[in-house]
C-alpha cells in the first residue's frame, strides 16, 4: 500500500521562482559535489541564523550541494584548518566522498566567505559553488599559468557590501 507523502510547500524562499530556475539550470552543469562548511555559533552571532537561512536555499536546487554546519566554539580545529577566525563564515569545498578528510575526496577551493552572503555576495557564493563544482575557470590560460607559479602564500581579502 502506497502512502502518500506530504510535500513540503516552499512558501518562504528568499529567492524568486524565476531565479531559482536559473540557479537550478546552472547547478545542473556541476560535475563535482560541493560542500559548504558553515562555521557558526549558537550565542553571540546575530547574523548566523540569517546566513544559515540563505545557505539552506541552495541544496533544494541541486543534489550536488550540501551544507555542513561546524560549531565554531566546539570545533576549533576545523576552524583553524580552514583559517576561519570569526563567524558567520563559509568555506567552499569540493566533496566527492562521504567523509570529511582529504582521502575522502575533499578538495578545498580555498574560497571563504566572511559575513552573510546576501545581495551581490550571494552571486559570488554561487560562482564559488560552480567553480568548485567543476565549471571552467574564467582565468585566461596565461593568467592561470602565472597564478599556478605562485610559490609564497597569498591571502586575498576582497571587501564588499551587500548592495
Amino acid at each position: 500500500m502506497a502512502r502518500s507523502r506530504q510535500l513540503k510547500i516552499e512558501t518562504m524562499s528568499l529567492i524568486a521562482p524565476s531565479d531559482q530556475e536559473k540557479l537550478r539550470e546552472a547547478f545542473a552543469e556541476m560535475t563535482s559535489n560541493v560542500r559548504l562548511l558553515f562555521f557558526t555559533q549558537t550565542l553571540g552571532c546575530e547574523t548566523c541564523p540569517e546566513t544559515r537561512q540563505i545557505l539552506d536555499e541552495l541544496p533544494p536546487l541541486s543534489d550536488k550541494i550540501t551544507i555542513e554546519e561546524v560549531n565554531f566554539v566546539l570545533d576549533k580545529d576545523k576552524a583553524t584548518q580552514y583559517g576561519i577566525d570569526r563567524v558567520p563564515a563559509i568555506a567552499v569545498v569540493a566533496a566527492n566522498g562521504q567523509g570529511t578528510g582529504a582521502s575522502d575526496g575533499i578538495k578545498d577551493s580555498r574560497i571563504r566567505f566572511l559575513g552573510t552572503p546576501a545581495g551581490y555576495e550571494f552571486m559570488s557564493l554561487v560562482h564559488a559553488v560552480l567553480l568548485a563544482g567543476g565549471r571552467p575557470l574564467s582565468l585566461t590560460e596565461k593568467n592561470r599559468e602565472r597564478v599556478m607559479a605562485v610559490a609564497t602564500p597569498l591571502t586575498v581579502q576582497v571587501f564588499t557590501t551587500p548592495t
Binding site: 571563504r112 566572511l114 605562485v150 610559490a151 597569498l154 591571502t155 564588499t160
Partner: protein, 64 residues
C-alpha cells in the same frame, strides 16, 4: 585564483558586518582587495591587471 593555486586563499569579507576589519584596512569604498596586508587594489580591474596586482604581493623583487 585560490582554486588554481594551493598557495592562495581568498576571503570575501562583508565589510558592514565586520567593521573592525573594514577599519583596519581603511575600506572607504568597495570592492577593495587587500593581499597579504601589503597590496591594495581599489575597485574592479580587468583580469590581467588584477592578476598582476595580486601577484605583485608574491614577488616584491622581480627576477628577470
Amino acid at each position: 585564483m585560490a582554486f588554481v593555486s594551493p598557495n592562495i586563499t581568498a576571503f570575501a569579507v562583508e565589510a558592514t558586518e565586520y567593521p573592525d576589519l573594514a577599519r583596519k584596512y581603511q575600506v572607504s569604498g568597495v570592492p577593495k582587495t587587500v593581499v597579504n596586508d601589503t597590496v591594495e587594489i581599489l575597485g574592479a580591474l580587468p583580469q590581467d591587471a588584477f592578476v598582476e596586482q595580486v601577484l605583485s604581493a608574491a614577488a616584491p623583487r622581480e627576477v628577470g
